[in-house]
């Protein structure tokens, strides 16, 4: 129910309590314990409506143990208003019960269907290049800072991804090959920091690849396979499965393939799906490959032809 976050800050979860008296009861049970004195307490409340007097009494109850109420989390608007009136900090929580279904309603856009987006993309790239050349010194400093901050984030991500990998690697049908890291240079600096993993095989339905950095697959990816990578995904072949590039939130990640026809493309937090159509994949007997690349432009996943 309660969790020590850092040093003397406690997060006390009372979101299961159904009424004001429940809250007081649960709270006093916690305050009876040794560890509750001299702490800063963050309270998490559920949908219970509390008025100012009730919040004040909760506060004084906490103060009686020489602890302090630092912030409140609540789903009730009344409680929120009352707490604000007293001067408490409100941590925003989302009402998870009313979360809408996140379905990739958007289809991915082909660049030739949206020339204005292409133009925007070109303009954006131009602006970025100019900015970089002008403030080279500033950029260096900020890059260093970024690296420092990034390292922490990267560690977190790595730990998360390791955990995720452990879960999956116990199961059959999962490939988790450790291929020596290798250098892969590109204009995009953020992506460049990742290591690159090479996979030389055909990925079939049900096979799952998780990778922290960039991923290069030399072979086809059949529909039903799933590819998750922290950086770019490049497929030297046909891509039919589900692909997630920049799966830790990198919006600059890209997906490219000789034949790009995936069920879903996910980049960072964006989803897009293949246009509705039949299930039958007609065998394309022609050897004409038009390499394509998908990336985010204006919060939309756009597929570009890479023929120039």
């Amino acid at each position: 129910m309660s969790k020590l976050i850092d040093g003397n800050i406690y997060l006390l979860d009372l979101s299961q309590s159904k009424s004001a008296s429940d809250i007081v009861f649960d709270l006093s049970r916690f305050l009876d314990t040794e560890e509750s004195s001299n702490k800063r307490i963050c309270l998490k409340l559920g949908k219970v409506d509390l008025n100012q007097a009730q919040i004040l009494s909760v506060k004084s109850l906490i103060n009686s143990r020489e602890s302090a109420l630092v912030s409140l989390e609540t789903l009730s608007k009344q409680t929120e208003a009352a707490a604000l009136a007293i001067g408490l900090i409100i941590n925003k929580t989302q009402d998870s019960s009313s979360e809408e279904i996140e379905v990739p309603e958007k289809e991915y856009i082909k660049a030739e269907d949206a020339p204005e987006l292409v133009q925007q993309a070109e303009e954006q790239e131009g602006v970025v290049e100019e900015a970089e050349t002008k403030t080279e010194e500033e950029a260096d400093v900020s890059n260093e800072l970024d690296v420092i901050f990034d390292d922490d984030k990267k560690m977190e991500k790595m730990i998360n991804s390791l955990e995720a990998n452990n879960v999956y690697s116990e199961k059959n049908g999962t490939i988790d090959i450790d291929i020596p890291e290798s250098e892969y240079t590109k204009e995009d600096k953020e992506i460049d920091e990742f290591s690159t993993k090479y996979i030389k095989q055909t990925l079939r339905s049900g096979q799952l690849i998780n990778c922290e950095g960039n991923l290069v697959i030399i072979g086809d990816c059949h529909s039903g396979c799933e590819i998750n990578a922290g950086g770019d995904v490049t497929v030297w072949g046909t891509l039919n499965g589900i692909v997630h590039a920049g799966c830790y939130g990198n919006t600059k990640a890209r997906v490219r393939a000789l034949k790009l026809n995936p069920i879903q493309i996910r980049i960072a937090g964006l989803f897009s799906r293949k246009p509705d159509g039949g299930n039958v994949i007609l065998v394309d007997k022609s050897n004409e490959y038009t390499p394509e690349e998908a990336r985010i432009i204006n919060n939309e996943i756009v597929v570009f032809k890479m023929n120039d």
């Binding site: 019960s97 979360e99 990739p104 999956y168 069920i263 039949g278 299930n279």
Partner: protein, 268 residues
């Protein structure tokens, strides 16, 4: 609201469990009920393909069980009927990723919001089957008029009878070919019913339209003309409680065969 949880199972693979599930579900949705289809065939999922929803799946049954998403987030709405939902199975995992209690929890949760919960059972009698039947109170056993399928169906009925939670089970005879029955190359409907001593809920004729519908990703019940579609819609109405005579799939084309049929009927 307490919905009915119906498991669609067969024992043998390839007899049409998933097809029946998609079509009965779509037919029930067409009649205005709220329906959710659960695919428990983890690792070999196909129900999404038949409904044409493959490209919309973000979260699966395994994600729900492992707490990565809320149950409601994992429900994928059908393109045609918004009152038809799909809870897809994970493709990159296997049957041991979930257990019977977890499936039961999910069906109990869904019962509150939906009229019908149709559980698509994987082939076999192992963990996957145990998972699928866990939350169900009714069962539909799909079989074809072939000895191997009938024997497997018999085994499944035995297992279902041993489960206290399964209150009733019905037989769905699929891929029936009237012409072959006539020429005595195929077991007749009566033969199968006699062997299995189980009530029928429907007879579905063999229909090439099924293959087309799978390729297109649309259940065949959307096609009003097809005979299989009519048969599936009748099954849905029988599930609703209506009493409808079985479809005469043996539609004689000429007068001579009509007379023949009449005479054969008299002989019996």
């Amino acid at each position: 609201m307490t919905g009915r949880v119906i498991v669609i199972t067969s024992g043998k693979g390839g007899v049409g469990k998933t097809t029946s599930n998609a079509n009965i579900g779509a037919a029930l949705a067409k009649n205005g009920h709220s329906v959710v289809l659960i695919d428990t065939d983890i690792g070999l999922r196909n129900l999404d393909l038949l409904l044409g929803l493959e490209n919309r799946i973000v979260y699966t049954l395994v994600d729900v069980v492992e707490g990565r998403c809320k149950l409601k987030q994992a429900l994928v709405k059908d393109k045609k009927y918004p009152n038809l939902c799909l809870l897809a199975a994970a493709q990159t995992r296997d049957k041991t990723s979930v257990n019977a209690e977890q499936v039961k929890e999910i069906t109990d949760e869904l019962k509150k919001d939906f009229d019908f919960i149709l559980v698509d059972c994987p082939a076999g009698i192992e963990q996957g089957f145990q998972n699928a039947v866990a939350g169900a109170s009714e069962a539909i056993v799909v079989t074809t008029p072939e000895m191997s399928a009938v024997r497997d169906a018999d085994r499944i009925i035995g297992l279902l009878e041993a489960k206290e939670e399964i209150k009733s089970y019905k037989l769905l005879l699929n891929r029936v070919r009237p012409s072959m029955i006539k020429s005595k190359d195929m077991m007749s409907v009566e033969d199968v019913v006699n062997i299995l001593s189980c009530d029928l809920i429907g007879i579905i004729p063999e229909d090439t339209g099924i293959i087309t519908s799978t390729n297109k990703g649309e259940p065949i019940v959307h096609d009003d003309k097809s005979l299989a579609s009519k048969a599936y819609r009748n099954v849905a109405r029988r599930i609703e409680g209506e009493e409808i005579p079985f479809l005469d799939i043996d539609e004689p084309q000429d007068i001579i065969s009509k007379i023949k049929k009449f005479v054969m009927g008299l002989k019996r």
